[in-house]
Amino acid sequence: MSDAIIEVENLTIGFGEGKNRIAAVKGVDFTVTEGENFGLVGESGCGKSTILRALAGLNEDWSGRIRLCGRDMDKKRPRALRRLAQMVFQDPFGSLHPKHTVDRILSEPLEIHGMDDVEGRVRLALDQVQLEPVHRFRYPHQMSGGQRQRVAIARALILQPKVILLDEPTSALDVSIQAEVLNLLQDLGQQMGLTYVLVSHDLGVVAHMCRRLAIMRQGEIVETAMAEELERGKLVHPYSRQLLVASRGYDRNAIDAFLDH
């Protein structure tokens, strides 16, 4: 397909050396077309965030093939290509420098990448994430969790990436704030023609945001499904079915039937 924006082939990622090496991702393949939001779902330790970090160029210890926008990515990624995919992290309390103002948080990536019109771009980014000009000279601790996550989204957008990698972007937020942030992400995606890869343990969030999703377990993709199939409960693999049942709430009888995967 020519409109594939992300192509991943036989991606393998491990941690540690020699006999202590643990394979976190084991030969994963997937393709994401432009504008199609793709979800990676699974429980902690399944490798979903590890894939995201490799896509972002934050982990250089991988093998296989990663293509972004039709270009092969080397393990050492040059600065110009790092701009293509930007990441939004889970914890807005940990991912923003506590002693930098929002202004500095947003202008630093622009300076690193030698982009012009810092003033205009910072203002535009704040406007895009619906923050007020007064927020520009605040510190992260002077803002709420939802506002902080908006700053993190603005920081990702400011380099005009093609792909935004979202690692549990709303799991630290209250549901009412989650709804606002997810609506904002949807609007931005449409306005700016972005492609999202969303990592989450919350099937509801993934079903809402993504057109297609992959369910992962122990470093492997066990099933890929369309969001409509998830909505109609048409998952095939026993592990994905168990995940779906668990996501529906507390059901005594279902729990007794759970297998420890």
């Binding site: 549901v175 609506n183 909505e231 996501s247």
Partner: protein, 279 residues
Amino acid sequence: MDKSPLLEADRLNVSFHTPRGVVHAVRDVSFKMGREKLAIVGESGSGKTQAGRAILGLSDGRVSAKRLAFHGETLLGLDARAWRAIRGRRIAMVMQDPRYSLNPVMPVGEQLLEADRDRGSAKTARARALDMLASVRIRDPERVFRAWPHEMSGGMGQRVMIAMMLMAEPELLIADEPTSALDVTVRLQVLAILDNLVRTRDMGLIFISHDLNLVRTFCDRVLVMYAGQVLETLPAAELAAARHPYTQGLLACPPEIDHRRERLTVLRRDPQWLEPVAP
């Protein structure tokens, strides 16, 4: 027989005196509970955690109440000695984050045994600790017994916390977001353990959570808190028919798997909700 409720709170208040004035974190919260699963739900800052801490005398703020009684005996103004007989023994608490609630310089096993002081021989205590670890679905209890807190994942740490609280076989367990750090399947398995205790050992459970969907399916009764007040109390099974617009709003916010929508509903906060609720 003992006719007084397991726990009774009448106009419980918690306030904090800060340089910028008094912050009223819990305002006139009243409820009675027996051997049941009672949920306190609300968003961050609603006062649900502060209410839980105040019951156990762990609040850093100024606590007052018309009445706060456990088995008919007041919990207000107890001295340290009286608290030691209750806290961790008859009323126990599981906190949200195991990283901060386990002692980082003591192996897990020793911490479990500490919760089981003066209850028979060291050998039986150790066997009980291993049993408890197994009952919270820890696959290798022997290894975890010897492990240090930093060697465990968040989910494992949380299960250890629950095992520790169960060692004392409390009559009332206050669980503050005990499962929000856990994966969905493990979360439900841990809830099933708590459910068993309520059923088989007649334990009362106060389940503090922000997750209405979970509470709806797990608990018996729900107190909905906003800005320090209880806005409404209702049976969990009737949560979908909640009358208060705040409860309805919270229920409408999260995306649903079975029913996808173009846009998510956003909560519109009414300043009226901050006004004192008529008793």
